[in-house]
Amino acid sequence: MSALQGIRVLELAEQVSGEYCGKLLSDFGAEIIKIERPDGGSPTRYLGPVAEAGDDAERSGLFAYLNTNKHSVTLDLTSADGVQTLHKLLDKVDVVVADQRLDWLQAAGLEPEAVAASWPSLVLCCITPFGLQETPAGLAATDLTVFHSSGWGFHTPSAPDLSRPPLKGAGRFMASYEAALDAALCVVAALCERQASQQGQLIDISMQAVLVTRTDYVMGQMVAGDMPVSDERTAFDLAGPAAIYATADGFVYIWMSAPAHWQALGTLLGNPEWMNDFPGDWLEKGCTPERVEVVRGHLATWLAGEQKAAISAAAQKLGLIMVPVNNAADLQACEQFIYRQYFAEVEHPQLGKLVHPTVPYRMSETPAAIHSPAPLLGQHTETTLAALAGGEQ
């Protein structure tokens, strides 16, 4: 039996944050009833990557990825009937995951405090850019602007060229994925408590706050006055030549922070002349920007002629921490990922067989599993509503 089997979740999500949270729960067998607007369904159905062929609402690889194991129920929440049906559904579910803003929830008769009061055993989790208390209310926000409200944007990349803009992070949805993890954690923790107390609760996740908590090693020191705060883009950085370097076939990342790393580099390079200008412990005790610059230059020249996998393996053997910078193709071919079955093939009625990334945790008793592809729009409307109307628990 998977861990969350028998838990019924109503998903009121139209963005990546809520849909990924639902996915994290459905991976463990929770039954997700995804409410979609009848006119086209979730907006994520139209976000890329999309397949060339297929119906418009069913071509999105993003939607297919985020919504495995879920049921799609279309419901017009702009109508009184739709809202009434929604409220009936609330009697039958254990959890609601919503990534809608407060005004949307209020319009659907789902004022969070009122829902918590009327359905006391319900776990209601709201994911919003700045939290339900946001000031001013209704700030326009996307993953980009939330990411830059968190410190990660301003301080990325490390060791920046100050004339160029700070960056958005990886891909499109880091803020959403990160927030979904905290949301799923809180939902399951609340379900644990509910096992004994029978009480639900309201969970209010701020995407901005989630991202800031991920900096706690730094911000925890700054807010306590133990580390200088500033408007410097290097304020989160560590000194040293650690960075990504180009190789003949891609890129590698080198970490160097200790004398042992410097020594290993010397062995790997055959102790070239230029290294003699550096004291053996310079990484710890004399890590000046000038030295870093010189080392970066030499590393770049050397690595430009190397192959990423081979040179990383040679470095690791000597105790120099170097790894290949993998891309999507590398990951599918990675022996470790294959061994651990990180990728799983899912057959989708319109997209065909698609290789999905799965989860980073292997659980001996309750493994995560994808048992059905993302639903077609409204695929489960009739059966789900009929079953619930029939009083099925």
């Binding site: 463990f28 990557p49 939290g131 602007t145 301003f154 306590a224 891309n327 651990r340």
Partner: protein, 399 residues
């Protein structure tokens, strides 16, 4: 009555024992503690966490340590002694969750592998965290956080368009990895609550990173596209970027809808420019568009510009530096920086949880001094008399 006060929260009553180092494992414990669990870090002078010693004289006043370990307890156990290991097993026999992120194989060498711990606590939830996870051909490898991000495919997607990737800020990865582990632990706790069964959880840092770019991995599966870093661009929106403001500040702006673009175009004086009339046109002329936007923004004061754009319905935010984060109104409105008190240095602010919930756990205590809770653990939990505890000190198990 216990000397440890009840703090509430959904995981109140759950005991977590941590055998962790640095940031990722401790972050898992911190999340569980913030949810109300009692989290005990097992420490020893002979194998001290580097965050207690890095760049500081006083191991009990180390800023990095304090930042990641508020609201935890510390027990000192010398794991190089038989007696110490035996007491640790006694403690584990009372624990619900064990979190470890020691080097690959270290727990087995200590005689604390899953089977051994299961023997003393059959329903233990054993969370093992490793760069590549506990099993597989590369599981022996170790690395630091930026290595996780590089290996997991995330770093390759961060950087300026058409150039070598830069990767995220060097601090990224440990805390995300720690969160994935905490989620899995919570799922296992729920399962145990229903069935009484514990389990072994094997968490991979590299795979956690891959999970943060799942849609890019799907793009490869679906269309054979290997995504590359692309600066601040995004296929569905233009403009979508970070632009200079007066005084060295930066503003993030995303035209997230046609309506938002129309409003922005009005402000920019570009409403009549046919090049930018629709998304396809704006994508085709994105370089010019970004240039025009940067020329418009660079002389303006950032907070006024954010207000102007927000009033027009355009997604915009200051790219916040560390001063901004400490002053951020939305974070303060959430009481995001609670005050915690520790026995050594008094009261300090710290980073609180990302969530608000109806029944929160109280967060009042700072990070523990080494062995601060020896008496609680040895006396109250393990039931040793004062004389027996003194004997442990004499044997070098604790101080």
């Amino acid at each position: 009555m216990s000397t440890i006060k009840k703090r509430g929260g959904p995981l109140q009553g759950i005991r977590v024992v941590e055998l962790t180092k640095v940031w990722a494992g401790p972050y898992t414990g911190k999340l569980l503690s913030y949810l109300g669990a009692e989290v005990i870090r097992v420490e020893s002078l002979g194998s001290m966490d580097v965050t207690r010693t890095y760049g500081v004289e006083d191991i009990n006043n180390a800023p990095g340590w304090k930042a990641v370990n508020p609201q935890k307890l510390s027990v000192q156990i010398n794991m190089k002694s038989e007696e110490g290991l035996s007491r640790l097993k006694d403690l584990l026999a009372t624990a619900d969750v064990l979190v470890e992120n020691l080097r690959p194989g270290a727990m087995e060498r200590l005689g604390l592998g899953y089977e051994a711990v299961k023997a003393v606590r059959p329903d233990i939830i054993y969370v093992s965290m490793g760069m590549y996870g506990a099993e597989g051909p590369l599981a022996y490898q170790t690395g630091y956080a930026p290595c996780f991000a590089a290996l997991g495919g995330l770093s390759a997607l961060v950087g300026y368009e058409g150039e070598a990737p830069t990767g995220m800020n060097v601090r990224y990865a440990d805390s995300t990895f720690g969160t994935a582990a905490a989620y899995a632990a919570a799922v296992a706790l729920f399962h145990r609550g229903r069935t009484g069964a514990g389990q072994f959880i094997d968490v991979s840092a590299v795979e956690t990173m891959s999970s943060m770019i799942g849609d890019a991995l799907i793009n490869y599966s679906l269309n054979g596209v290997v995504e590359q870093c692309n600066g601040n661009r995004r296929a569905e929106m233009a403009p979508h970027g970070v632009y200079p403001c007066a005084g060295g500040d930066w503003i993030a702006i995303a035209a997230h809808s046609d309506q938002a673009w129309q409003a922005l175009a009005g402000l920019l004086g570009l409403a009549a420019d046919e090049r930018f009339a629709n998304l396809a046109g704006r994508k085709a002329h994105e370089v010019e568009l970004d240039k025009l936007l940067g020329e418009w923004s660079c002389s303006q004061e950032v907070s006024g510009l954010v207000e102007l754009l927000q009033a027009a319905g355009v997604a915009a935010a200051k790219s916040e530096n560390s001063l901004d984060l400490i002053a951020d109104a939305n974070l303060w409105a959430r009481e995001f920086y609670p005050n915690v008190t520790d026995a050594h240095a008094g009261s300090r602010m710290t980073v609180g949880p990302s969530w608000k919930m109806t029944r929160m756990a109280e967060i009042t205590d700072g990070a523990p001094a080494l062995g601060e809770h020896n008496t609680y653990v040895y006396g109250e939990i393990l039931g040793l008399s004062e004389a027996e505890q003194e004997e442990l000190v004499n044997k070098g198990v604790c101080r």
